[in-house]
Symmetry: D2
Subunit: 303 residues, 4 copies
């Protein structure tokens, strides 16, 4: 898309006219990951050159703090056996949607007044025993595809994305071209905004009511390139600027897009800069929670 000033109505109209409802059948619960074909996975595997692997996950966040209103739980147990042997076990628990656990959003996670992904009704589908539609188990065989890092701070010559300069779709386009990594259907786009660098200089991004991030104009980019998924460290800018319930998170119900929130991308950005490469094999493996609205994940980039 070209750079231009968007209105609330522009975004709403775009979502309605370009949404993928029915594209893979009315009963499809997979969404854009349908674009990850076996051939695409094979292409992804062929991208591995050095065998270096990098985690895109933040540590399990048990410490309360800004943006961590519901800390993840981790409790230890120890069981001794006769003769000095023994076992240590633990309990983990999390309300993983939030600002601190790296997690994937399932298609059941969000909706607007037109409904959930493929037009389903949340009143019908969201039940006390799990989502009957768009549960994360639809992606139980993982998301394995070509990953492309779009390094916004490097492109801007700045350490991080600032509040007054959100990331726009046309800038992602520029970066992809400048890096020599144009996107192809089924790709996993990884948008690095410099969250750790921000945190070193400011109050923690996770705790901010007003915070830097991506503008809803990125919806055009995600849709035009038929991205299968997005991984990002800063997510939507807040407020989103259009008085809409969702910014780019609207891609969940409009496109059926898989969305990995709260990733840790600085190590990947450093590795990509060092290698002078911006594409890699990306592997995301959600826990198969029937009716789940998402899952904690530890995405891996294999260079």
């Amino acid at each position: 898309m070209k750079s231009r000033k968007l209105s609330r109505a522009d975004v709403q109209e775009h979502l309605r006219t370009t949404r993928n409802w029915g594209r893979w059948g009315d009963d499809d619960e997979v969404g854009t990951p349908n674009l990850i074909t076996p051939a695409k996975r094979l292409e992804a595997a062929r991208l591995v050159q050095s065998g270096q692997v990098i985690s895109l996950s933040r540590p399990w966040p048990t410490e309360p703090g800004p943006g961590n209103a519901h800390p993840a739980q981790h409790f230890m147990q120890r069981m001794d056996k006769p003769g000095g042997a023994g076992l240590a076990e633990d309990f983990i628990g999390a309300e993983f949607h939030g600002k601190t656990v790296t997690h994937i959003d399932a298609l059941s996670h969000a909706w607007d007044s037109d409904g959930m992904w493929n037009g389903r009704s949340p009143d019908e589908e969201i039940t006390f025993s799990g989502a009957k539609w768009g549960g994360v188990q639809a992606w139980r065989d993982g998301l394995v595809t070509r990953g492309v890092l779009l390094d916004v701070p490097r492109h801007r010559g700045q350490a991080y994305v600032a509040i007054d300069r959100p990331v726009h779709g046309w800038e992602l386009e520029e970066i992809a071209l400048a890096q020599g990594t144009p996107l192809t259907p089924g790709d996993g786009v990884v948008v690095y905004s410099g969250r750790e660098a921000w945190d070193r200089e400011h109050d923690a991004w996770a705790g901010l009511a007003e915070r830097p991030g991506l503008d809803a104009s990125c919806l055009w980019f995600l849709r035009e390139h038929d991205c299968a998924l997005i991984v990002w460290d800063m997510t939507d800018r807040m407020p989103n600027g259009y008085d809409l319930p969702f910014g780019n998170h609207a891609a969940i119900f409009a496109y059926g897009l898989a969305l990995v929130d709260m990733a840790l991308l600085e190590p990947l950005a450093e590795a990509c800069r060092a290698a002078g490469r911006w594409e890699f094999m990306l592997v995301i493996s959600p826990l198969p929670i029937n009716g789940g609205t998402g899952s904690p994940v530890n995405p891996l980039a294999i260079l």
Copy 2:
């Protein structure tokens, strides 16, 4: 190893004389996954031929039942936004060690009277706030390697491993050779014993006090081939037959072996039989829980 009758003393002596303590330094918390070099990962990626991907994880087990004394938790939440938009979120929790959650054991999970991996003391290392030694975060960059399925039921011409005929190390050796997939250092060995077929004909394997599985003679196999990890559906036979605190789970503290318990392997076995191939790219991505004794995982086999 050759087929022979083993005694308790044989197993104990083997563990003490062949253990990997100090092999990667006294301060190493990674263990056999050290054998997964960048070159090994590259080799694994080169194994991808069809791009088919298969989950090796059982569903998140929220239903109580045989072998599921502490069911995994899954609670839903729904938050409505003005104008008909909304969000669904959930809480998940699990004491994941057990018989029903597919999970990886960290090196902090088990020890005998000689100590934990690399000789550390559980009294020093197992604390209320997590394991100070051998926590699962040591594998935060994932385990990406060549996977080799050893299909015991196919080799035996039976549907599943029975109680009176445990799997021995020499049989794994035979199978690997018969399949044309000899093991090389750093491999992830995936031992299929037919758990689902067993469950269709008997009381659920998970709930049995006496149950079929692998004999401790497999320790020789794992050590001789320098396996980086094992994924299995049936785990150790019970009782282990040697009056030892652990059967093959002793590989955790003796070799530093990564061990994925309670995998779902029938779909992979079917795919391998259909493809006539027994090797693939294996990707396991634990949640980076600092001081964790393991993690739920959804291992992926990419063929």
Copy 3:
């Protein structure tokens, strides 16, 4: 009531014709505990003679076992302070409805096709963030009243209630009279059926699909005497014998009755037998969980 053979239609008609809907106003969420007036509490306090106090709660059931499909959670934490001081803390969690945690049922806990207490609709009132109607916080000031133990095993000269001889309403009537403790409005009736004695001779009561307990004819007794609450160790017999969704649990939505399930009554029965007294001050103090469907409680009998 007189002893007679009841039919399904009898129970249904009784519930509809005698229910307390509207008795304390259409917006009342308190139910029969409205019958516990300040004067009633004063009367209860005057019953204290010896000052002996007895807990009616079973231990916090963290061990899985028959009838304990979702064990209560208890995890320890330890925090050391400089100079050798320190703190121990813990996490507790429970799906407390079930067969093992002593708990009170709030009026939001159960309904039939006519609706919840006072005719409200569960579709309107049961939300993801709690019950909007009949939450346990309606009883936040506790239930303090006269308690009367009805000792069925003593009356029968047997150790426990057996499967083929459920407790009927007319038998409770006989026992109350034989003990010299006729019931008065607002009383808390405590029905002892000998659960511990049963457990010593049979498979644990909690794990049984068919189990001894109270017949739905006790509904007449509870209603005629305007009981404010019932505390019992065996609850409804299973199956209830009338092919109804609920036996005496129907008192929750029909009468607005407070119901304390899974109490431990053997110690109280022994104390009452020793003292030759069957009435006492009863204090039940639910946690004020807004919108909760009940609460774990430790009821106290003060003799």
Copy 4:
């Protein structure tokens, strides 16, 4: 005690010289609640005059906020039965020590360099499966005694205790005498400091690093009067002013005192002022968690 300036050494010496270790035997895990005799409970019951009952518990705090770093959990479930009947159930969970859940501290909760209650060692007693010493189940039969409200704001003619004027032991003495309610052994002292009034005018007390409360001089008061327990809304002032690990919380391990933190006392204070009475029957009923370091409670004052 007389009003005087205390030093760190004064407090330490007082704790060591007046502690109750051995007073009820070396194996006693009950502590000062031993002072609540049957006669004391009878005396408490005789205090009931109006039959008014008041909860001293704050609501179950599921909302994150200042001082609520680990919000209590409350998740709903709904199960429909054939024919329109159904059940609602819930899960509750809490790390209840903290600033928002009204809870009782067991004798296993705190220690200093001299050890736990009765001189036991935390290294021996605090285990992964619970405290072996001083678990809250020691109080399973509840704490039923005479309660005396000491209304500090009323005595001072101010709405709440301020940071620069902590509550001292000699002031509690004055208040008790001024109110005409001298303390007797086994009493439950209820110290009202006006927390809600503070919260209406300041940042929430729960979230403050420096906050008003009771000075360690109250230890003298608690010990001299042989109080069985204390219930308070503000707890120890912070910092405690003596560079000690604990202020009045030291009474846990020194005296074996039962301590109810984070109570809601404004309603009780209003009722006492209205009635012109400051004593009542106090009933506290902890959940019998074996090895627990405390329990959420809903204390009841019966006037």
